[in-house]
């Protein structure tokens, strides 16, 4: 079928593209960019998208699908639906499933579940067997089955010696090691350690727990020559360490989650478990350091750390409630509201951090907006004002602290794999 997208501004910093133009999509491919003839418009479905932007499909490189294991909280399909609704055409999912994604078999299982979906799902394999930090997971087999990176997310790779092995082994594939940076011996807490945790009487996790591991990982990356990617960076010192590492030419990249550039530990007053995540919400100073890091390029990309949990699990005593919040369906809104409209990032930078850089880090080709290319696109309106409503989420879970929040910026449609997601529905195109 033929689909005409009218009135769009096409934007792709990777191609130095920024121009207003109509698009003709035929059988999932970009057929023509530019003014369309009467002939071309004939029998085509036309979407009027004046004032909206069209970028390469956005990519969230850090999400948790709960399949296999906790299909009551999220499946590969419901998570992919949430991704499409949130404006993403690709995601990378963490290996803390049950069983752990530490074998080619589980990697293939996830890929199989994701087959035929609009959203491309790239599994991240565990770095160690069962993420226990004791022995090397079968990295080569998982890579060949489709894993794009390796991580023990949930925890940092336990020992320096295993970290070294994982990094050295990964060199064969130039695959990044994604680290959840947290020194376990310092992490016996439930929120950021400081004035607020003392006031609330909650055991805290100090920022040094993050900083020390970031430092270890960067130094090990320098020594081994491997690539390390710092997941959900949240402390000011950690951003500085990455900045210095990059200056020295060490292969280190970093991502930040929207909640860490939006919220601070103050939100915990009231003990709402929807503000409980790991790393925890830090101080206002740290939030500002995240924004600074995004601006100067220290932080390469934005990733949600989408972590679905059932209502029963979250509506619990604070210290027993699990960490993590949903992220896929609020990410564009938060990024536009907090970064674009507050003039911290330009639209080009935003697209770089949400579509271009995540793929480059994972060695995935960045989609081009050019004639003859497969249409892999996110169409979004950075100026649409909307109110978050968790009851409308496509995710199977509802644990978002942003319910009822007013945001500016929203995904309008996504196109990929010859499918269109628009106005809440998937369609073949």
């Amino acid at each position: 079928m033929r689909l005409v997208l009218k009135g769009l501004t096409l934007i792709n910093p990777d191609q130095k593209l920024n121009s207003k133009s109509d698009l003709l999509i035929e059988d999932g491919k970009i057929k023509k960019i530019g003014d369309l003839t009467k002939e071309e418009l004939k029998d085509a479905e036309i979407l009027e998208l004046e004032g909206k932007y069209c970028a390469p499909g956005f990519f969230d490189m850090h999400i948790h699908l709960r399949e296999p294991g906790r299909e009551d909280e999220e499946t590969v399909v419901t998570g992919s639906n949430a991704a499409a609704a949130g404006g993403f055409t690709g995601v990378a999912c963490m290996p803390n499933t049950d069983p752990t994604t530490d074998s080619a078999e589980v990697v293939r299982f996830i890929k199989e579940k994701a087959k035929n979906h609009l959203v491309d799902v790239f599994p991240i394999g565990a770095a160690s067997v069962d993420r226990k930090g004791e022995s090397l997971a079968p990295i080569a087999e998982m890579f060949d089955a489709g894993a794009v990176a390796f991580s023990d997310d949930g925890v940092a790779i336990k020992t320096a010696s295993l970290l070294r092995s994982v990094m050295e082994y990964s060199l064969m594939y130039d695959a990044p090691i994604i680290e959840h940076c947290e020194d376990e011996s310092l992490a016996d807490g439930h929120m950021n350690e400081g004035e607020t945790s003392t006031f609330l009487g909650l055991p805290g996790i100090p920022t040094v727990a993050e900083d020390l591991t970031v430092m270890r990982d960067i130094i090990m990356a320098e020594y081994t020559g491997a690539r390390v990617h710092i997941a959900h960076i949240s402390s000011k010192n950690a951003v500085d360490l990455v900045r210095q590492g990059k200056k020295k030419g060490i292969k280190v990249t970093a991502e930040v989650a929207p909640h860490h550039f939006t919220l601070s530990e103050e939100s915990l007053k009231g003990y709402n478990t929807n503000f409980k995540m790991n790393p925890p919400l830090r101080t206002r100073d740290d939030v500002e350091a995240m924004i600074e890091g995004l601006k100067d390029g220290t932080i390469d990309c934005i990733a949600s750390d989408h972590a679905p949990h059932s209502i029963e699990e979250k509506e619990m005593e604070f210290i027993y409630a699990p960490n993590g919040i949903l992220g896929l369906e609020t990410q564009i809104g938060l990024a536009c509201t907090e970064l674009l409209h507050k003039k911290h990032l330009t639209l080009d930078q935003l697209v770089e951090k949400m579509a271009v850089n995540p793929r480059k880090i994972l060695n995935i080709e960045v989609p081009k907006i050019a004639e003859g290319e497969n249409a892999n696109l996110t169409i979004f309106d950075p100026n649409e004002i909307w109110t978050v409503d968790i009851s409308k989420f496509k995710s199977k879970s509802k644990n978002s602290p942003f319910d009822k929040k007013l945001l500016t910026g929203k995904s309008v449609a996504v196109i990929n794999n010859s499918q269109l997601y628009f106005e809440g529905n998937f369609r073949k195109i």
Binding site: T198, L202, P206, I319
Partner: protein
């Protein structure tokens, strides 16, 4: 004049007038407790649940006695008999108790924030009997009552809380309460037992016990939890006693008039020497009757409130 809140979740943000009202009301009940018939019909027909997820016989008995003296109906629910162990969630447990048409819940729990959480899932008045290392307001009210009884006032007093401030639920409540009443509050202990950023709530931190004794009217000495995290916060109880213990020598040397308060039970020879506990010093040990009076005051003020 009623209390300004329908719950007692902690003493943070509680106005001076409320604390004063509770302390004054406790004076009345203290008198009742001296009578031959110690029972008043004030809360007849009201049901109070003591919801204890953590074992604390002393606190529970004190509350239970206060409830009986006020003629309330009491239901005890503690973890050993609870269904939470069988996989029922906290929320379900509370919903089931709610079905019994209860008026008040006294709750003790390992997690900070549980009393606040309860206010969202129950219509009862909630009284915090200790949540994690957060607050234990009735204990602090009792401490304040005892100090006032001894020294006649709270405003202008210099009070130092000594010991394991980091893991204590009594410390924060004392700090908030005493400050609201116009006292000057410090904390003293090794840095490993002082929580990060405590200065931000308006207390001074000192690490020298001699100075603490010399410069304060009252020391509220916390019990060292011997079983807790041995080795990572203090090296040995001997070293703790030598550097932070309250001894006769130290009192004689620094301040003979200092009032020593200890909520008990004491680890003799750790936070306080036997000489001090049994000697001719101004020591206030566990005030069982005052504790019942304070809890009666709180139960009464909340239980007779118009909803």
């Amino acid at each position: 004049m009623p209390l300004s809140s329908r719950h007692l979740l902690g003493l943070a943000g509680v106005p001076k007038e409320d604390i004063q009202l509770i302390l004054d009301t406790a004076v009345t009940f203290r008198e009742v407790l001296e009578r031959p018939i110690k029972k008043v019909p004030t809360l007849q027909g009201k049901t109070v649940v003591n919801l204890f997820f953590e074992n604390s016989t002393r606190t529970r008995i004190s509350f239970e006695l206060a409830q009986k003296r006020l003629s309330a109906d009491t239901v005890n629910f503690s973890t050993s008999t609870s269904s939470t162990k069988k996989g029922e969630t906290f929320k379900d447990t509370v919903r089931n108790i709610e079905a019994m048409k209860i008026d008040m819940i006294v709750v003790r729990h390992q997690s900070a924030g549980v009393p606040q959480f309860l206010t969202q899932i129950s219509n009862a008045h909630i009284i915090n009997a200790g949540d994690g290392r957060h607050e234990h307001p009735t204990q602090a009210l009792l401490d304040m009552y005892s100090i006032k009884e001894r020294l006649g006032k709270l405003a202008g007093l210099k009070v130092c809380i000594v010991g394991d401030v980091a893991h204590s639920r009594v410390a924060l409540s004392n700090i908030f309460g005493l400050k609201a009443m116009g006292a000057d509050v410090s904390v003293c202990g090794p840095p490993t037992l002082i929580p990060k950023g405590i200065e931000s709530i308006g207390v001074k931190v000192i690490h020298d016990i001699d100075k603490a004794i010399a410069e304060h009217d009252v020391l509220n000495v916390l019990r060292i939890q011997l079983e807790r995290k041995a080795g990572s916060s203090i090296p040995t109880t001997r070293e703790y006693h030598n550097y932070f213990g309250i001894t006769a020598d130290r009192i004689e040397k620094n301040n003979k008039d200092v009032v020593i308060l200890h909520p008990g039970p004491i680890n003799r020879g750790v936070e306080i020497s036997s000489e001090v506990a049994d000697g001719p010093y101004q020591v206030i040990l566990d005030q069982v009757t005052n504790g019942v009076a304070i809890r009666m005051a709180v139960l009464y003020l909340l239980g007779t409130m118009n909803n």
